[in-house]
Amino acid sequence: MLHPHDHFTADSEVLFTQLGDNEAVLLHLTTQYYYSLNETGLAIWRGVNEGMSLGEVADAIRSEYEIDEAGAWKHVSDFVEHLKKMKLLVEAPGSVGSPG
């Protein structure tokens, strides 16, 4: 189960390429799996990979898209969980589940 203090980062085998202002794709070189990011997905991906905690990303999403706190957290945590299962995101060393 994910926690708002958790930090994630892109797997070292993942390549990111932007296709437009609000569209991008991720490619995992080993699995050859590729994943398309829409505007919201791209915002979450950027936040996570800029070092924000999941809670901070959810706050940014809530502010940007005017959704409630619970909705924003569900959106972010479901999405990150999915990317984690696809091995596109991995837990950042020493930060997962740790409040500080």
Binding site: T17, Q18, L19, G20, E23, L27, L29, Q32, S36
Partner: protein
């Protein structure tokens, strides 16, 4: 490995090794290979990306017959620059089924010895259409052809995400180093950003009507004005 000229498997493996080695060397010069055909009409480029046996060579030859310039029916190089991605032809001989001569009478005049596939003809198209071979073009349209069992062909736009998926499927990324792969994906992303992309559902009319491919595809390039 000894190269036995009479042994198809040996020849295939040898050619694959040479091509992979060439691809790695080309990466060092910012050239990225892709399994695709490329043509140009009035200087405006079309890249046709698809797996083997998708009708890519037949479609390309049809367009050459209609006066399009060509770079390759099978393998191209992508060269990024600040102005955009340029496509270069890598293999100029076309690989066509012998049955294609029914569609293209006179095809055998360009036939030469094939290195890779005995069941295919290597056709020197430059000998048949000497003024239509070009070295480079700037692509404006990406096309992903697929053969359908239908009398009429049709074209449908595809999203940029689908387009890069189609290009990735025709690019050998996993066999090179990560930094090379990153540069390769970056070029594919740029190519997708700089072009419009379509799927061609190729029906029987492409085979039956020599002018059909040109009639379908020329407006895609014109429409980008």
């Amino acid at each position: 490995m000894a190269l036995d000229a009479q042994n198809l498997t040996s020849r295939w493996v040898a050619c694959a090794v040479v091509l992979e080695s060439l691809a790695i060397l080309l990466h060092r010069h910012d050239l990225f290979s892709m399994h695709a055909a490329a043509l140009a009409r009035n200087g405006r480029g079309l890249v046709v990306a698809a797996a083997a046996d998708s009708g890519k060579s037949t479609l390309t030859f049809r367009l050459v017959q209609s006066g399009w310039d060509y770079l390759s029916d099978d393998t191209v190089l992508l060269r990024p620059s600040p102005d955009g991605v340029t496509v270069l032809g890598l293999r100029s001989h076309f690989s066509l089924d012998p049955e294609a001569e029914e569609l293209f009478p006179g095809l055998s005049r360009g036939r030469e010895a094939s290195l890779l596939k005995e069941e295919k003809w290597a056709v020197n198209v430059e000998a048949l259409y000497p003024k239509q071979r070009i070295d480079a073009c700037r692509p404006e349209v990406l096309l992903f052809p697929t053969i359908v069992d239908a009398p009429e062909s049709r074209i449908a736009p595809v999203s940029k995400a689908e387009a890069i998926g189609g290009l990735l499927a025709q690019s050998s990324l996993a066999r090179v180093k990560l930094d090379h792969a990153a540069a390769h994906v970056d070029v594919l992303g740029r190519l997708v950003r700089e072009t419009d992309a379509y799927t061609l559902y190729a029906g029987r009319d492409i085979l039956d009507d020599p002018t059909r491919a040109d009639a379908l595809l020329a407006p895609l390039l014109s429409a980008t004005f």
